[in-house]
Subunit: 349 residues, 2 copies
């Protein structure tokens, strides 16, 4: 029963399992790969011995020969931002169930280092990439990512107006913002709101631009004056300050439409605790995302939601599809948004 080979780096190797089981090293490899032919009892024996020895095929070696790392790179500007942390959470769970793992990278909030970061990430050879980046051109992405599969969420790539045009590597998941925003504006209008202020996110980010433009279109379609825009960065503190300024220095508003829920919280706290105004009796507030905190009693925020689970499922489906079929034509899926009505929109006093 002497297992000829020594412990290599503390881990068992296929060679050692083979020696123990009196089979060839190739048989061990086959035992771990489902679509190969191997006598069932032999496979069983090998797997048992492998378990005894605590053996698992080395992923580095596997990656070297197969070109697959089973890593999915995720780039976000801010893990703490509640929306993104919820997305990362759901994504990690889903990927884990499929035999993958999340490789996390952090870009800067102002999106300034995106290109270097992509190059850095490429070094880890992820099989696929989900990126919340902003200032990167389609061809740069193609250059850096090599054979990896980026799935570019939410917004069109600059330099490629459609998924098709960007080449087969770029699948895309769109969020149709119009429905939810239209429902929100309709609700506000029904309560007699006339002057809406848009509390912006990071100025040139595509999320912010898309939301602001959609809001403008929707309001115009309903015959309303364009919204006042006040600055923000998707964060609480900036939202707080901007809201205070809007009412102290500026002209105020009947309602605030925030670029995301956290901004809405900042606006609400400014209204209530600094400006001594009531929500919604004096000013209505609408958010975007429907993060978990939106239902907390202190805020109870009316907000535009898109279904996170649905989105993550779609993302993982796209990733797996492309990995199994790298040359399939680019796919584009679209998800809806809808308004979740809670307590921050109401009749004016």
């Amino acid at each position: 029963m002497a297992d000829g080979a020594e412990l290599s780096r503390g881990r068992a190797t296929a060679e050692m399992v083979a020696a123990r089981a009196n089979v060839s090293r190739v048989a061990v490899s086959r035992a771990f790969n489902p679509h190969t032919s191997l006598k069932p009892e032999k496979r069983e024996l090998i797997l048992r011995i492998a378990q005894e020895l605590n053996y698992t095929p080395d992923r580095a070696a596997r990656a070297l020969v197969s070109g697959r790392t089973h890593l999915v790179g995720v780039i976000v500007p801010d893990v703490c931002s509640n929306w993104e942390s919820q997305e990362i959470d759901a994504l990690t769970t889903a990927l884990q169930a499929e035999g993958f793992a999340t490789l996390l990278f952090k870009t800067r909030t102002d999106y300034s280092m995106d290109e270097q970061l992509l190059a850095y990430m490429r070094g880890f050879n992820p099989d696929s990439v989900i990126a919340f980046v902003e200032n990167v051109k389609a061809r740069t992405l193609a250059k850096f990512l090599g054979r990896a599969v980026p799935i570019y969420v939410d917004y069109p790539l600059p330099g490629a107006t459609s998924a098709r045009e960007a080449g087969p590597l770029f699948d895309r998941l769109n969020i149709l913002q119009r429905d939810g925003i239209d429902q929100a504006v309709a609700l506000l209008q029904g309560y007699g709101v006339r002057r809406i202020a848009y509390l912006a996110g990071v100025e040139k980010s595509r999320a912010n631009v898309a939301r602001e433009n959609t809001l403008r279109q929707v309001m115009a379609a309903r015959g309303m004056e364009p919204p006042t825009v006040i600055a923000g960065d998707f964060g609480y503190d900036a939202a707080y300050q901007s809201t205070v300024n809007l009412f102290r220095v500026g002209e105020g508003a009947d309602a605030i439409f925030a670029a995301n829920d956290v901004s809405a919280f900042g606006a609400m706290d400014a209204l209530r605790h600094e400006l001594k105004l009531r929500v919604p009796e004096d000013v209505s507030v609408v958010g975007f995302d429907d993060i978990a905190q939106a239902h907390w009693k202190s805020y109870n925020l009316t907000t535009v939601k898109f279904d996170l689970d649905e989105r993550v499922q779609a993302l993982v489906r796209l990733i797996l599809r492309r990995l199994n079929n790298p040359d399939a034509p680019a796919l584009e899926e679209t998800l809806d948004t809808r308004l979740v009505v809670r307590g921050t929109v109401g009749a004016r006093r």
Copy 2:
């Protein structure tokens, strides 16, 4: 100028760079490894050509021969939980700066699948592991992790009473809860608080047990009756319900000491919006963590803080130290906590 080799899998290889630069493949390898001897102008030439060809040494091949993946596995029960998302964020930034990447895994909130998850993670060969797991024994960890370096945060491993005893693989970072909790209790006592309720976290989690025990000890040392304990799970909703029960069915309390900030928010919202009690005039509230939301105006929470940046820096320092010197004796570092006074503790009406 014909570069003899073809494109391999879409990526340039050291062979191709060597051919272009008229040097051997070994020279290319040396150009990318700082502590090797290579004529400066030659290294420069190689690096230039490498950049032209968009070449980076393949990490899978590198990992195969060196045994280093430059991956750090991080296991958390819940990415969304604000404390953990802030930790992940800081950790990712710090690791990125050192040439590593965060490999993220999610365990279940009740910590039930920890062992399988460790085995799964081990398959990816992380160089080091930072785990928020609960029900895993020291020897199981040693078995699964092989040569990887787990750094076990906050709480002693079951089956190993000291870092030393667990063997050289286990460094540890302790949080000294006593100081901050004592300051909080002193503050409460100063305002005449007598009956404190402890709003618990996940029942058997080490974070919860440590906080409850420390609170008991501190209160006993100050001559107070032991706290009433009410159930919780570190989340908002459970905290909300438990607080309502405490005052509707149970005996109430002068102050609530919550296991973490999110629980404290749930308790505050229950007090204010459901029970129509004032904070702090009727009931004082203290949290634990000092997450970003704690300073939001709606809560303005008095809470026990430990410095996240300090902690993350210590963690990364420990990781790098062990990677450079695998056989160094186990190290144990300790961090302090302190009370951050805001507006949720005050004189009773």
